[in-house]
């Protein structure tokens, strides 16, 4: 999470070295084995909690780390937050970790989750990441993949039955920590990665083997695999055997990722369209169309640059879907309802969409019964997959939703086979509840507690669009009696800021409202900028409502600190440099229509002229240079 140039200059060479290193690594592995277990295995038990309380984003200065170790998972807001300036200067050495070991994690997940499509994406993106410098976010992927397996608040996770993954995560943490300590020793670091990767591969193999071997005997499986896992931990040399072929593949995969994901997909089920399907790929689009529940007509006058993103005629889908409400067998009514509301735009905002989706899944799980001669784990996963594909048809998933789905699937996959159906359902329901409460609701509260310390009397706070976390923060600060003013910056076509303005004014907060064009005008008086985010990617890019980048850029120009409030579950290991490769397209009609201004009608018949296109982007990517601080539910990072 670097905000300024200096750190980047430091980390660049490292990154280069890693990308270069991967293919040539195997020969060194035997040498690399010994030092690693010595450093990693003893403190495992301590490390897991640290992984628990650490922000996945930051590789904080050692001070933080030790502080976090001492504290519980969700520690108090009184955490020693270094002032922004100081933090900018202090360079988190390890934060530009090559995400080498993301790839194994991802593919491991693949095998666990039995989710063909997510899988493809995971491994794909993992491979992708391996060729690129990923920021310090590797841990987030670890967390997302492995961590939710245990209860979030427990500290002594290592002892829990699904211990492998914990240890796995712990090892990851350890390596990362190691690296942040010894970050400068570039020669050591890659070796360690190799070992971790190897370990992980071993664990994965072990898991697979264990799962296959002990069908129906749930209690043995975790024990066995955890034993294997720990042995792998201790004996990377042995584990290394498992990995070579895959490792040799990975650079190839990285270099031509789209080509390589096909063969991987082939042997898997293809229920769900690829979440990051490239919609300029005609044959795949055709296939997806045949499967789709929602009848979709491609919009006319597409913007050439965005052919790879889906865009459909807006008005046609909703009535069509509504009429099918009682005919659709495969989709649970609760999910159907949520899908419709996504489509209609009733629910927007990362958190709201995520919660709605999870609650719909809860409903569907409640009503679920395993069909005869089918295993709950497999059948429920495929059910969820079909729901997800339906939701994607309604509106592309947000990254936070993707993470939540991944969480749920891993939960399902990890259900013990010994459990009865009702027990399994109860476990899943409570897991989802806990995810909603801890990862979203509680996370927001923690963020608010952190962030409110950044508000001083007399501040003028600028916010853009309508972020739920920022709204909570402003209201909380107002309730604390802080004396501040809020500038709500809004943009066409969504004008979500109006609703936020309405709510803030209702609470008695003094507000200034303006459009994004006037942000340079208003920035003179602003002292802090608080922004929400849809996701924070592993290269530090903040992926958020379109316009966030502009606001952050102008704030940066005016030397106003930019604070991003983002829950940790929204972090993602993907990397992205611009806003074009991956984005979502909104309804182009929204651009043409200017509500309340009848005189502006020149674009009303835009669809009829071939040369005219309207582009309604939903997200944009803010470079990390513009971000002073990211406030997560774990800690703040700079």
């Amino acid at each position: 999470m670097e905000t300024r140039r200096v750190p980047r200059a430091v980390s660049d060479p490292k990154v280069r070295q890693v990308g270069f290193f991967a293919p040539g690594a195997p020969p060194d592995r035997s040498q690399s084995g010994p030092p690693h277990p010595a450093s990693s295995s003893p403190p495992v038990s301590e490390i897991s909690p640290s992984g628990n309380s650490l922000s996945p984003v930051m590789i904080p200065p050692p001070r933080h780390l030790s502080a976090d170790l001492a504290r519980g998972p969700h520690f108090s807001p009184a955490a020693p937050l270094s002032p922004m300036r100081a933090a900018r200067d202090s360079i988190p050495v390890g934060s530009y970790n090559p995400s080498e070991f993301v790839a194994p994690t991802a593919s491991e997940f693949t095998d666990d989750a039995l989710s063909p499509n997510w899988t493809a994406r995971r491994s794909n993106s993992g491979k992708f990441a391996s060729s690129l410098p990923a920021g310090g976010f590797d841990m987030s992927s670890l967390k997302q993949n492995n961590f939710p397996a245990s209860s979030l608040t427990t500290v002594s996770i290592v002892n829990m039955p699904p211990g492998i993954t914990e240890k796995d995560g712990g090892a990851g943490v350890e390596v990362q920590k190691e690296r942040s300590k010894t970050g400068s020793k570039a020669s050591l670091k890659p070796l360690k990665e190799q070992t971790t990767k190897a370990e992980r591969r071993a664990i994965q193999e072990a898991q697979r083997a264990a799962k296959a071997a002990t069908k129906g005997d749930g209690s043995k499986t975790p024990a066995a695999s955890s034993g294997l896992g720990s042995s792998a931990n201790a004996n990377p040399g042995k584990a290394a055997k498992a990995s070579p072929q895959k490792k040799d593949n990975s650079p190839v995969a990285a270099s031509e990722k789209r080509g390589s994901d096909r063969p991987q997909d082939k042997d898997r089920k293809k229920d769900v369209p690829h979440p990051r399907m490239q919609f300029d790929d005609k044959s795949r689009v055709e296939k997806a169309k045949k499967r789709s529940v929602v009848k979709q007509t491609e919009a006319k006058n597409r913007v050439e640059l965005f052919r790879h993103l889906p865009q459909y005629e807006h008005g046609t889908r909703l009535p069509e879907l509504e009429s099918k409400l009682f005919q659709l067998d495969p989709v649970h009514p609760a999910v159907y309802k949520v899908g419709l509301r996504y489509l209609a735009g009733d629910i927007s905002g990362g958190n709201a969409r995520c919660i709605a989706m999870l609650q719909a899944f809860q409903e569907s799980i409640k009503d679920y019964s395993t069909p005869p001669e089918k295993a709950l784990i497999r059948d429920l996963t495929s059910k969820i997959n079909s729901y997800v594909s339906f939701l994607i048809e309604c509106r592309p998933l947000s990254i936070s939703m993707g993470n939540a789905i991944r969480f749920l699937k891993s939960k399902i996959a990890k259900l013990s086979l010994a459990l009865s159906e009702s027990e399994a359902k109860a476990i899943l329901l409570s897991d989802i509840d806990r995810f909603i409460n801890e990862k979203i609701i509680l996370a927001d509260k923690v963020i608010v507690r952190h962030a409110v310390t950044k508000i001083r009397d007399g501040d003028v706070l600028l916010t853009y669009g309508s972020s739920s976390a920022v709204e909570l923060l402003l209201i909380h600060a107002h309730e604390l009696g802080k004396n501040f003013r809020v500038v709500v910056v809004d943009s066409r076509p969504k004008l979500e800021g109006k609703l936020l303005l309405r709510r803030l004014v209702g609470k008695g907060i003094s507000c200034t409202y303006t459009h994004i064009n006037a942000v340079s005008y208003i920035m003179h008086e602003v002292t802090r900028v608080f922004l929400g985010a849809s996701s924070v990617l592993s290269n530090g890019t903040v992926y958020s409502r379109v316009g966030t980048a502009c606001v952050a850029m102008v704030a940066h120009q005016f030397r106003v600190p930019v604070l991003i409030c983002c829950e940790a579950y929204k972090f993602h290991e993907r990397v992205q440099l611009d806003s074009i490769c991956s984005n979502e397209l909104g309804d182009p009609d929204m651009i043409a229509k200017v509500p309340g201004r009848k005189e502006i009608d020149s674009l009303d018949d835009w669809a009829n002229s071939d040369n005219l296109q309207l582009l309604n982007l939903i997200y944009d990517a803010t470079p990390s240079d513009y971000v002073s601080m990211i406030i997560t539910d774990y800690d703040t990072s700079h």
């Binding site: 980048a549 005219l612 982007l617």
Partner: protein
């Protein structure tokens, strides 16, 4: 003169009510008004130029006060003043070489009448009393007719310049726009429209992104015009500017005024666009007629050279009127709405200014200003510094 006064008041009224808008109408109307002011102005026998200058200034101050942010009014007035000074001086400069001789010759009183006829106006005051009254009177009459005539001619040329500046600027389009380029623009500008169309007419095919320029959304109109002429156009929301700028080759924008330091007063949102362009090293090209050159340096331009428009463009007053009225503890309204019209873009962010006389670096603008204005009309100190803005 009551007729003249009526005309002046009419334009003042229009400016105050913002009925005259745009960088074409305003300078034209101002120049035409000044032309008629000059044509009906009765000139005293002596110091005719000063009389004209004072007359123009009187009207000019009122016009400027009527709409201080319509900068082209002030620019045209200063141009006219400059014209008067130039015209006043030009005959003298033609005959400057002769002056010394004349004076000595006159003092010899050898041929006073001949000298009288070719006497330059600057020397007039020295000699009116020493020479024959009748002759000088007839000469003065002729000279005043000539001065007025020249000034009016020059103002006509100025009007002509304003009218054809679009063509002159557009002629340069081919030098800047090439095949397969992607160009971004913001809001509506006739100069930009003509510029792009000129390139299109030269068979260049390129793509235009138009940021709509909320809340007035004039970009829609521009997009429609471009599409009507067969250009590939994409309308984007202003917020998407940062997302799209990485794929743009050039930002071409029209502006409200170009300041003496090379900074520009542009439609709101331009600062954001220019910053984004700078981030991605995309050149920002400003197209502006020479009459938009403002001979002053900006002082706090965001406030002093800005115009705030009605909040109703941003918020429906019906929905939010209660919030605006009900006060917090001290009775102040809770909601403020900022709806500025202009942005100031500093010269660092501008790559090129294209005027009717060619393209210039922003740092060269001060030099152009010296060509088109007299320093007496914009220097803020001294006897002549009458303009408040």
């Amino acid at each position: 003169m009551p007729d003249m006064q009526g005309l002046v008041n009419e334009l003042i009224d229009k400016l105050k009510k913002r009925r005259v808008k745009g960088s074409l109408e305003t300078p034209l109307q101002t120049a035409e008004l000044l032309r008629s002011v000059i044509s009906v102005q009765k000139l005293p026998p002596t110091n005719k130029a000063a009389a004209l200058i004072n007359a123009v200034r009187d009207v000019g101050e009122k016009l400027i006060a009527a709409n201080p942010v319509e900068l082209s009014v002030g620019n045209v007035i200063r141009r006219v003043l400059h014209i008067i000074r130039e015209e006043d001086l030009s005959p003298s400069s033609d005959e400057a070489g002769d002056n010394e001789e004349e004076i000595t010759w006159l003092r010899d009183n050898t041929a006073p009448y001949v000298a009288e006829i070719i006497r330059p106006p600057l020397l007039h005051m020295l000699h009116t009393f020493s020479s024959a009254e009748e002759k000088s009177k007839s000469y003065i009459f002729g000279r005043s007719r000539k001065l007025k005539h020249d000034v009016i001619e020059a103002i006509n040329m100025l009007i002509e310049d304003v009218n054809i500046c679009y063509e002159l600027i557009a002629e340069q389009a081919v030098e800047h726009i090439h095949h397969n380029e992607t160009i971004l623009t913001l809001g509506w500008s006739r100069t930009v429209l003509e510029f792009l169309l000129a390139a299109k007419d030269k068979k260049r095919s390129f793509h235009v992104f138009v940021a709509e320029g909320a809340p007035r959304c004039h970009g829609h109109a521009l997009a429609q015009e471009l599409v009507g002429r067969g250009l590939k156009t994409t309308v984007i929301a202003d917020a998407s500017v940062f997302a799209m700028i990485s794929r743009v080759n050039m930002v071409i924008v029209g502006v409200h005024a170009v300041m003496a330091n090379g900074g520009v007063i542009a439609p709101v949102g331009m600062d954001m666009v220019a910053l984004a362009a700078q981030k991605f090293a995309v050149p920002v090209v400003v197209v502006a007629g020479i009459h938009k050159l403002r001979p002053l340096y900006p002082e706090n331009p965001e406030v002093s050279l800005n115009d705030m428009r009605s909040p109703s463009e941003l918020l429906e007053l019906g929905k939010f009127s209660d919030c605006m009225d009900f006060g917090s503890v001290d009775g102040a309204p809770l909601v403020h709405v900022a709806n500025p019209v202009f942005d100031y873009v500093p010269p660092e962010l501008v790559s090129l200014v294209i005027t009717d006389i060619g393209g210039h670096k922003p740092s060269y603008i001060y030099r152009l200003i010296a060509d088109y204005y007299s320093s007496q009309d914009y220097v803020r100190y001294g006897r002549d510094a009458l303009f408040k803005l």
